[in-house]
Amino acid sequence: MQSIINSIIKNRNLIIYIFLSFISFNYLYNNSSVHYSGLGKVGTFISGSTSNIFAYINSYFSLRQENNKLIAENLELKKIESQFINKSDTRDISESEIDKTISAKVILNSINKSKNIIVINKGKLSGITSEMGVISSKVVVGIIKNLTDNYSSIVSLLNTDLKINAVLKNSSTIGSISWNGLDPRIVQLNDIPLSSSIKVGDTIETGGMSFYFPKGIPIGIIEDYNNTSLEGYYSIDVSIFIDFSSLSNLYVIERTDNDEIKSLLNE
């Protein structure tokens, strides 16, 4: 207390000066229209700037919350999107139908091995089952392999064991996507016959002829191709739409008709 009083006494000139300046400014502000508008502008600028800074800092601290909100919103939009696709797609309604979408966060990821695995923070308790497809916003990521109650491992698209049914968007020619284990940005599209017409920049998406993914989920674009193969098939390099090293939020999806198709096959 004594030190506070001492400090006030020591700085009394400054305190008096500030106090008297305040009175003078008040006098000026209330009586002169020029100063009223001028100081008003300064006041607006200061309050605007400080509010901006405060809002910026505040938004930084609420990023996690915002992120969760966006994921939830994304999930809702995906459901609406799938419903919309179902209604508009008259060719095969069941083909593009997604029954379940579960959002999850990546907790382990690798791209530098030949058999890359991704681990996510959702498992059996969240309703995930083996062999469900995994996508990242709009791009294919992989397939669920092993499960615990709270975690799941995904066989990444960057795993030499995985083969996914794919189709050329323009010509509907069916092939399969796999990875040769070399460049994590490039996967290979196989089984496209030389009779098909392709060009660099063509989009590749899922063909829908598997239990994992519905038709029309993008994979990448053709970066390069070679038609000198003696086997009668193109050798095509496909550039993936996403960077696998920066995956964070994924969506586990399940087709509605899986059980029905499986039971049909088992008969």
Binding site: N13, L20, S24, Y27, L28, S32, G38
Partner: protein
């Protein structure tokens, strides 16, 4: 109340009254205002309390503002100059500034000129900045400050000589 203090109060009153009655109505060359009351802040004795100087500056500034209808511009300029006077003293006189009554007599003329001019210039700069109060008038503010400070400096220098030579 000692005799010297009474003399200073009377002198201050004379300067304020002459400002109100004569110099407030005097416009040299059509643009130059004469603010002789700044001499009060320059000649305020170093032996008196600095806090009183700020209060004194506020009082004098307020009187001038009320008489000229300038709504606080003189008050703000006066209290700022009074608050910063100690620093200006140190800048102008160096070591001598701590010696009481050493300011006017027995100091070098260049130190005195710097001290006088700095206070007048600072006061007028604040006064004209507040009067124009727009960034686009910055050149006008400096021009007015420069012309007015030179003229006021000459007048205040003469007044201080008259007072102290007596």
């Amino acid at each position: 109340m000692n005799r010297e203090l009474v003399k200073d109060i009377v002198l201050s009153l004379v300067i304020i009254l002459s400002q109100l009655m004569i110099f407030n109505h005097l416009y040299l060359f059509g643009t130059v205002n004469t603010f002789i009351y700044i001499s009060l802040f320059i000649l305020y004795k170093t032996t008196y309390d600095k806090t009183y100087l700020i209060l004194f500056g506020f009082l004098v500034g307020l009187i001038i503002d009320l008489s000229l209808q300038t709504y606080g511009t003189h008050t703000l300029a006066s209290i700022t100059v009074c608050y910063l006077r100690e620093r200006i003293e140190k800048y102008s006189f160096g070591v001598n500034s701590v010696l009481p009554l050493a300011m006017i007599r027995g100091t070098r003329i260049t130190n005195r000129l710097t001290y006088f001019y700095l206070i007048i210039f600072l006061h007028l700069l604040i006064y004209f900045s507040l009067t124009f109060f727009k960034f686009e008038f910055i050149l006008t503010i400096f021009l007015y400050t420069l012309i007015n400070s030179i003229v006021n400096f000459i007048i205040i220098w003469i007044v201080s000589k008259l007072i102290f030579d007596k």
